[in-house]
Amino acid sequence: MLFNSYPFILLFLPVVLAGYFWLGRRSNLVPVIWLALASLAFYAIGNWQFVALLLISIAFNYGVGHLLIVAKLGLTQRKAALALGVAGDLVVLGIFKYASFATENINALFGTHFAVHILLPVGISFYTFTQIAFLVDAYRGQVAAYALPHYVLFVTYFPHLIAGPILHHKDMIPQFERKETKHPDAHLILCGVIIFAIGLFKKTCLADGIQPLVALAFEARSPSFDQAWLGALAYTFQLYFDFSGYSDMAIGISLTFGIFLPVNFNSPYKATSIVDFWRRWHMTLSQFLRDYLYIPLGGNRHGRLLRYVNLMITMLLGGLWHGAAWTFVAWGALHGAYLCVNHAFNALAPKIPSVLARPARIAGALLTFLAVVVAWVFFRAVSVAWALRVLHAMVDPSNIVFGREEIAALVLIAVYAALVWLAPNTQAIMGYDHGNRRVGETLRAGRMRPLLLYGASLVLAFGILGIQSHSEFIYFRF
């Protein structure tokens, strides 16, 4: 089921909300079970064939986690249990996500003709990572024993299940356990609806609105210089509004249940360096990769060279996490290289005088944006060869069309660029503070209330009017 669909907005969400708060008057546990069942129903609509896999994954990880938390195991046994749990998760992920890719490469290398056709279960990358984090923390002794309904809800919680944000059990389960979340909080519901409206608008009007321009670069046999740039920029903005729109909707929906989800985007295209970019883009994934891959690999604790190696490994695997294709490996490798260069520059370059700080930040932001756009070409292209073709066009100014269509595209790109660089982001507009569980203090105080309310009503209206028959989120396929 899609957030940007009439059945979800007009039927599913109101029914689940009503049931949750109605049951919340009677019990603290039953609403959790209700929400978990609703989440499974949400997943089953359109993905029913993968529900069993999801349930098996939950049972397996809960079982292994239980062993690690409750059973009195020795160190070796604990290590073995963790290895079993993580390996089990990765094997399942490998089979469903990477088997076809591996087979294609084996065929290409050895001239064989093996064929593997396995459908990718929606959300598998997200719920696998979520549970690996749980197992690792359980091994480290950082997890209390969770009740099964709360754990099931933590994994399946429908606002995040399909495309994140990647949740952390220590953040979520205590919220599910709180009695207060089972009673409707009008302020949180209002703020949730506004955040949802912003996300819906981002998706249906902004991301879907610019999507046709992407074809200029990625569906043309030989795009010109201007077409390649316009298409690459269009995709850069489409991806941002699509994914951050989804994340906003997830945060907004969750807030109506009284649950705070972590922020996933913080104006990433305003980043002044690649390091800064990764603190702002898909933040929950970056945190996961840092905590459960980069730091366990050694992080920056074993010298500069090993730090760069660890960065490259982390980003290569981060690329591969997005999809089983060489284009994603290339994208990850590029970002790994960017990060290495960025860290090397920070270590070796002299300190910039304060008078030059501002120009340096602007130059850094431009360079970062450019580097990110180049990397997105690999992320979007159907093959590395196709990406190289687009990039080749982007450095060949001898072939320029700049006709009517390209001028109209440029106007639209300029509007999106202004939005991305000049407008505040959702959490700034709403004063969303995930850590302190605060939101909309300005609204509560009455300042700017009419402006926010009527602005939000317009955004919600256009978000709803922008709903097309079927427009999936880009990150659903990861």
Binding site: V193, V411, L460, F462
Partner: protein, 367 residues
């Protein structure tokens, strides 16, 4: 607490008001002219949507259908050459189901003559028209669902707002001039300009031998040659021809159908000959059946332009292996008017045989 629920109610009510306001705006401005014709209307190149409005709002006795091969024709040129009052409904990349459906709607609205640019590849297998995601049958039929999707649309509200702004006298001229360069879909002030090439278009830059040969090299390269026959299947194509073309023609015996096989460059067939012979066989067999079947119908005039050597062998006429220049567009109209290349019902395969001989004999120019 109560106060905040009041705010939530206010927000939802204001949103509903905005939604209804946008729908009202769309209904009053009616950018597609689905409900009423308008002198101030603008037109869109999105032909699958635009055609639904054109059929309702324009007066015509003849309709012109086809794919991208027929997209650059101007209605004014068609009218002049053939002495008709035409409406161009060609759609890029369209299949026979879409073409047949749109033609049926136009015939139901009074078209007495159909000029149909018929490619072999329109008959490849495709979704049923009722489930076609790219062409809304509900919009054409004006069902409740179709009208709701038209009125309750942010994209259409943007177009309505632009049309409204453009109707303000001080803004009219400037916005009309700027429209083609703005991100609006309904940007053309003249129905004749839909997908037509600008009058000052540099033909030599876009249509030349170099581009045609480059396209030939591209499509026949080993990694891509499998795409030449993509979707081609003799049985399915015959079935779609019978359903979509023969079915439509049989249902409307009072309508005259001028159907033509367009003048692709010879390289289109040579590419198949060299890189995908099975596809060439399907094309030959399919068009043989089409020629034999259509020439037997009293309300069909079939024209075959595929073997006109003076055009098809001159690669400077093309932008790739099939798309010909506006110069050839003009020739097509004159051939249709004169009937010079009309297929003789007694010898329906004569032009096809000539084409086969040409394809066999042709040698690709080496750079």
């Amino acid at each position: 607490m109560q106060g905040t629920f009041t705010h939530l109610r206010q927000l939802l009510l204001a949103s509903m008001a905005c939604v209804l306001g946008a729908a009202m705006l769309n209904y009053l401005v009616d950018p597609l002219q689905l409900f009423r014709p308008s002198r101030l209307a603008l037109y869109s190149d999105d032909t699958r949507v635009q055609n639904a409005g054109l059929i309702r709002s324009q007066s015509f006795d003849t309709v012109f259908m086809g794919t991208s091969l027929a997209i650059h024709f101007r209605q004014s040129n068609i009218d002049r050459a053939l002495g008709v009052h035409s409406l161009k409904l060609a759609m890029t990349g369209s299949n026979s189901r879409q073409q047949s459906f749109v033609l049926e709607q136009a015939v139901d609205r009074g078209a007495k003559r159909v000029i149909w640019e018929m490619d072999d590849f329109i008959f490849v297998d495709a979704p049923d028209i009722e489930a076609d995601p790219y062409l809304s049958v509900d919009l054409y039929r004006r069902t409740t669902k179709g009208i709701a999707s038209y009125l309750f649309s942010a994209a259409m509200a943007k177009e309505s707002l632009f049309t409204l702004l453009r109707s303000v006298p001080p803004l009219r001229q400037k916005l009309t001039q700027a429209a083609p360069y703005l991100p609006v879909t309904f940007a053309l002030s003249d129905v004749d300009d839909i997908y037509a090439l600008p009058r000052d278009f540099d033909i030599g830059r876009d249509y030349n031998t170099k581009k045609t040969l480059a396209a030939f090299t591209y499509i026949t390269a080993p990694p891509r040659r499998r795409f030449l026959g993509e979707g081609y299947g003799y049985e399915a194509m015959i079935r779609h021809f019978e359903q979509d073309a023969m079915g439509l023609i049989a249902r409307h015996p009072d309508v005259t159908f001028d159907i033509y096989f367009p003048p692709y460059s010879i390289l289109q067939f040579v590419a198949m000959r060299d890189a995908s012979p099975a596809t060439l066989k399907i094309v030959v067999d399919l068009t043989a059946v089409i020629a034999q079947r259509l020439t037997q119908l009293p309300n069909v005039r079939l024209h075959d332009f595929r073997a006109i050597r003076a055009v098809t062998h001159d690669l400077a006429n093309y932008g790739d292996v099939i798309h010909h220049s506006p110069v050839v567009d003009a020739k097509v109209l004159s051939w249709l008017a004169s009937g010079e290349y009309r297929v003789d019902p007694n010898k329906p395969l004569a032009s096809l045989d000539e084409l086969k001989a040409q394809v066999e004999a042709y040698r690709v120019p080496q750079p």
